[in-house]
């Protein structure tokens, strides 16, 4: 939990801040052209909470944790540490895989909520500096278009992304054969594989949530 969660806070905070500030800066000009600057908080909240926050957070975590887990378990495999667990009648799968996958499933949604919060804070900071928007107006406008199901579904789907990162990285680390070169390759494949599966499963989850909750809830 500590490795997956608290040690990823700075990374996800910076990610969130950058998303919020850049999204607000990029969108402002377009919205002004259509005379719709007032809906900037709505647009930011919907974009961040429903898609950009969960997917960006998961991809960033896939990079950090996929490489870390793949390399760590891969190194344990080639240095016989996994064999040592097995010979000592301990179940390597329980100690190494289940713990990491569970930590990812639990921490991905928590970190996503954190990233969303920081992103909206960044968006507000940009709005305040650009147009002096009052924070009460920003908050009220941002949340008027969000439904509870938006936050719930799109945050919880990152639990599934966490499962993907955990299971793919552990599997690739566990099945390493060879030496340090193969460990490096496993770490790289863990990041690439996890990221691709996150993007693919996101399409499927969004489609399913649209069917269940309607377009506005997707």
């Amino acid at each position: 939990m500590d490795e997956v969660g608290s040690k990823s806070f700075i990374l996800t905070s910076i990610t969130g801040l950058a998303i919020g500030v850049v999204l607000a800066m990029q969108s402002r000009g377009t919205l002004i052209r259509f005379g719709a600057e007032a809906v900037l908080p709505n647009m930011l909240a919907l974009s961040v909470v429903k898609e950009i926050g969960p997917v960006f957070t998961s991809l960033v975590l896939a990079g950090r944790l996929g490489a870390g887990i793949g390399a760590e378990i891969g190194s344990m495999r080639v240095t016989e540490q996994i064999d040592a667990l097995e010979v000592a009648a301990l179940k390597p799968f329980h100690f190494l895989v289940i713990t990491r996958v569970l930590a990812c499933i639990i921490m991905f949604p928590i970190l996503t909520l954190w990233t969303d919060t920081i992103a909206l804070t960044g968006g507000y900071m940009e709005s305040y500096l650009a147009s002096g928007m009052d924070y009460r107006i920003f908050i009220a406008t941002a949340f008027e278009s969000l439904r509870f199901s938006d936050i719930l579904v799109d945050t919880l789907k990152t639990g599934f992304f966490g499962f993907i990162v955990g299971i793919v990285s552990c599997y690739l680390g566990f099945t390493v054969r060879g030496g340090t070169r193969e460990v490096g390759q496993a770490a790289m494949r863990a990041v690439v594989g996890s990221s691709l599966l996150i993007l693919l499963s996101d399409v499927i989850i969004v489609r399913i949530s649209m069917l269940l909750f309607g377009d506005a809830g997707s």
């Binding site: 190194s75 016989e80 064999d83 010979v87 000592a88």
Partner: protein, 250 residues
């Protein structure tokens, strides 16, 4: 299984794809006996020892350890048997993320119902036995090669196994460390009556620890006996092995 045999292998065969690594191995290791398996690189020594502890499954033949068929059992039954077997890995296989103390505690707290004081006392006794009590809070990365092997040996014996399997216990060590680790192996057999199988191509180590030596070549034992008998055996691979080793040592 013969009456005194603790480990018995019969016609053990193992292949990886088209490559036959073990081609019908027979071995009997009596109680309180140290059998040393020697042979060149790629002769199948590590595969042999991994079969004995069930890390690899043979394609055919039988493996009996303490009366249990390792090749047939699995799950909890295999885990129960493994509690009677210690294994010293070639690399030591200490857990990098744990201190020496945590490496030893990890096994103790999961298998023995000891109070924290009893567990700490046992760890200290074991570290004193390998003459490294001051390394209690060090990480494996801070240890020398010889120290790692001794800590790994401490971890292998802390559960008080009846059998110890050594995979190249002295590889990469200087002669002083080789003698130190080898002496510990001899003491284990003398003081605790441990039965063991050791894989090594270190002549000094074999000379110190071996009760019997078995020379593995191309997946088969081509000679068995004392180290002296083996060294005089008329076989080209053995002549090359001992000739190279002698010139290397000199």
């Amino acid at each position: 299984m013969t009456e005194q045999s603790i480990i018995q292998l019969r016609d053990l065969k193992k292949a990886f794809g088209a490559i036959e690594v073990l081609k019908g191995i027979n071995l009997d290791v009596p109680n309180n006996h140290c059998a040393v398996v020697m042979g060149g690189s790629g002769s199948g020594k590590s595969v042999l020892i991994k079969n004995i502890v069930g890390l690899l499954k043979p394609d055919s033949g039988s493996i009996s350890v303490l009366g249990k068929r390792v090749d047939l059992i699995q799950g909890d039954e295999l885990d129960q048997l493994r509690l009677s077997i210690g294994y010293l890995f070639q690399s030591g296989a200490l857990f990098d993320s744990m201190t020496v103390s945590e490496n030893l505690m990890f096994f103790l707290e999961r298998h023995l119902n000891l109070s924290p004081k009893e567990a700490n006392d046992k760890i200290m006794q074991t570290l004193e036995w390998v003459e490294l009590p001051e390394k209690l809070n060090d990480y494996p990365a801070d240890l020398s090669g010889g120290q790692k092997k001794r800590i790994a040996l401490a971890r292998a014996v802390i559960m008080e196994p009846k059998i110890l399997l050594y995979d190249e216990p002295t590889t990469g060590l200087d002669p002083v460390s080789v003698r130190m680790v080898s002496d510990l192996i001899v003491r284990l057999q003398a003081e605790r009556g441990i039965t063991s199988v050791a894989i090594t191509h270190d002549l000094l180590c074999a000379e110190i620890i071996a009760d019997s030596v078995h020379f593995l070549q191309d997946g088969q034992f081509v000679a068995s006996g004392s180290l002296e008998e083996i060294s005089r055996f008329d076989h080209p691979a053995i002549a090359t092995f001992f000739g190279n080793e002698t010139s290397h040592a000199s």
